[in-house]
């Protein structure tokens, strides 16, 4: 869509350029003559487009994350009626039979089904060293896993070098002799988030400055947790999760049952069949089965909402910028009425005048807009926290990266061109309508 619009805009500009007879030098030199107002006008474009690019990068980042999380060959099973993991409650007795279904793949090494029983919990973490103003706690999304090795295979998640999955016990003794610490594997986003709690000494001693790393600890209430590994999870919602031993943390936070069963099928088609079977024909217990990829992709409502808001705000800001360029162009024309008269006397047609002034406004717009795209692109890769929600309720807190890509640039340049044409049109029309004799008088 955007690409088509941009293509149309570029073609329009191309046609304008092809029809142009007044030398471009004339246009460009006049811009340098009035450089102060031109800079002011272009800077307004820079700001509008720059802000647009940053905001789009945000939505784009959220979209990439929700669309890039989960696999198409995994089936996510939740309790019937539950649309979100945090509201789901599965009966443990029902799971073994589902895991044994023939569509579920088996681990070639152990022969066990590639199925992961999980308890998804949102935990309140009182903020250590929180300033008295502002929030006193944060939400940590925690996933209790039974067997991390199987779970890693089902999810297709790997650890960054140097890390390891938690042990069978899920806890380890700490050198300070206190109670054993809960072993946890962190997503990159939450590792970064938790690093903001470090004391200055810890920060100075940290191996990895921007996030927690293996061996570091954090506290939830009075329990100490120790990081055994960091998941390669950037760009997925798992990046905002903490994984630990289910049998340990379920009871700890008052949720001993499972919320989620994740089943790996041979391929996407089998997964689809498995999902349909569990949803429609599975007699033993009613469940809500979904393709994992779709489950996360559905969490796009927040991005859609923000996309609308951004569109709205940008269009209005753009209108402001358009008024600016109109002022500039009207002033340019009134200053060059004699030039226009001479050109018309020399045989330049009305359309030549129109095109020339439209191009002038487009040049101002493009200089400002491209600078805006470039400045806005500095936001690429910046991490931000946000929330994603689905159409049917539920959602996740995520740490995501702003993503500036060709699509974002396309939107930015398209808007630039549209603003340039709209801002230049009325003045250019007024220039076109000038009668040569009156212009020279």
């Amino acid at each position: 869509m955007v690409w088509k619009l941009l293509a149309v805009a570029v073609i329009v500009v191309g046609i304008l350029a092809a029809f142009n007879r007044v030398p471009l030098k004339y246009t460009l030199r006049n811009l340098t003559v009035r450089w102060k107002t031109i800079v002011l006008t272009a800077l307004a474009f820079t700001l509008v487009i720059g802000v647009l690019v940053v905001m789009l990068a945000f939505v784009n980042g959220m979209r990439k994350m929700t669309e890039g999380t989960g696999r198409t060959d995994n089936v996510l099973v939740l309790a019937d009626g539950a649309t979100d993991e945090s509201f789901s409650n599965l009966n443990a007795g029902d799971l073994a039979e589902m895991e044994a279904l023939p569509e579920v793949q088996r681990d070639p090494e152990t022969g066990r089904p590639l199925a992961s029983r999980e308890t998804y919990l949102i935990v309140n973490q009182p903020l250590p060293n929180a300033p008295s103003k502002g929030p006193q706690r944060r939400f940590l999304q925690t996933r209790g896993i039974e067997d991390p090795r199987i779970a890693a295979k089902v999810h297709g998640v790997e650890l960054l070098p140097g890390g390891s999955w938690f042990s069978e016990a899920g806890v380890q003794e700490m050198p300070d002799g206190g109670p054993p610490a809960i072993q946890a594997v962190l997503g990159e986003g939450v590792a970064r988030e938790l690093a903001s709690d470090r004391t200055p000494q810890q920060r100075a001693a940290a191996k990895t400055p921007h996030r927690l790393d293996v061996g570091e600890t954090f506290k939830i209430g009075d329990r100490t947790w120790v990081v055994t590994g960091i998941m390669k999870s950037s760009g997925t919602t798992f990046g905002s999760e903490i994984w630990a031993k289910q049998s340990l943390i379920g009871p700890l936070f008052g949720k001993s049952g499972y919320t989620t069963l994740l089943l790996r099928a041979k391929d996407a088609d089998t997964a689809k069949k498995l999902k349909d079977f569990l949803t429609n024909d599975y007699a033993k217990v009613a469940v809500n089965a979904r393709i994992e990829r779709e489950h996360y992709a559905d969490m796009s409502e927040t991005s859609a909402q923000f996309a609308w808001a951004i569109g709205f705000v940008t269009v209005i800001m753009a209108i402001g910028g358009v008024f600016g360029v109109m002022n500039t162009m009207f002033a340019a024309i009134s200053q060059r009425i004699k030039d226009i008269g001479v050109l018309r006397l020399l045989g330049y047609a009305r359309r030549h005048i129109l095109v020339s002034f439209l191009l002038e406004s487009l040049v101002i717009a493009l200089v400002g807009g491209l600078l805006g795209c470039a400045l806005g692109s500095l936001a690429d890769g910046v991490t931000a926290s946000s929330m994603v929600t689905g159409h049917s309720g539920g959602g996740k807190f995520v740490v995501m990266e702003l993503a500036v890509d060709a699509w974002v640039w396309a939107v930015g340049i398209f808007l630039t061109l549209v603003m340039g044409v709209i801002g230049g049109l009325a003045p250019a029309l007024s220039a076109m309508r000038l009668r040569p004799l009156e212009a020279l008088r």
Binding site: V22, K25, N30, K338, R344, L346, G347, A349, R350, L440
Partner: protein, 231 residues
Amino acid sequence: MAETNGAIVRVRGVHKYFRRGSERLDVLQDLTLEVPEGEYLGLMGPSGSGKTTLLNLIAGLDRPSEGEVWVGGQLISAMSEAQLARWRTRNIGFIFQFYHLLPVLSAYENVELPLLLLGLSRSERRRQVMTALELVGLADRIHHRPGQLSGGQQQRVGIARAIVTDPTLIVADEPTGDLDARSAEEILNLLDELRRSLHKTILLVTHDPRAAERADRVLHLHKGQLVEQAQ
């Protein structure tokens, strides 16, 4: 065809009037005029006599209320505005009192302007521009902008721009009106030169008797009518 005996401009029974409210303002009344090819014609008359209006009609900048204007065998009084614009590029060279050069363009670029509408190659344009500038004696100032040139030099750039398309007719509206005596003299000499060596037809509107006396023929306009012919 009406065009005969070598007249390049034929004005026949032209009326031009403007309306101001209910009042009709007659600027030209039943005016008939022929200009043979190669003639240097001076038009004189007091302000408001209609001489500039007549010039504008002949140069295709305006259309008569009644009557016909033929230039170079074409009935320009019947052309649309767009046709006129195209026609002017090839057929008319303008010289103005205040030069009207585009300030941001160099002498060369100003002279080149009319050629850009003609679809010539860059080298052809360059040849024609340089010829015109050499003719007016400014081949060494091609990169100067109008602001860096004297009034006389600017007017010479104006003349180069007027002749660069090799037009049928050169119209000059008070070309010396803004110049000191010496520069004016130079410009008038240049016009003589154009007529002599290029056999251009020139239509000169002026107040200045010294300018008028260079012309082959001088017509006086008074209240929209030709009153007197002098040789």
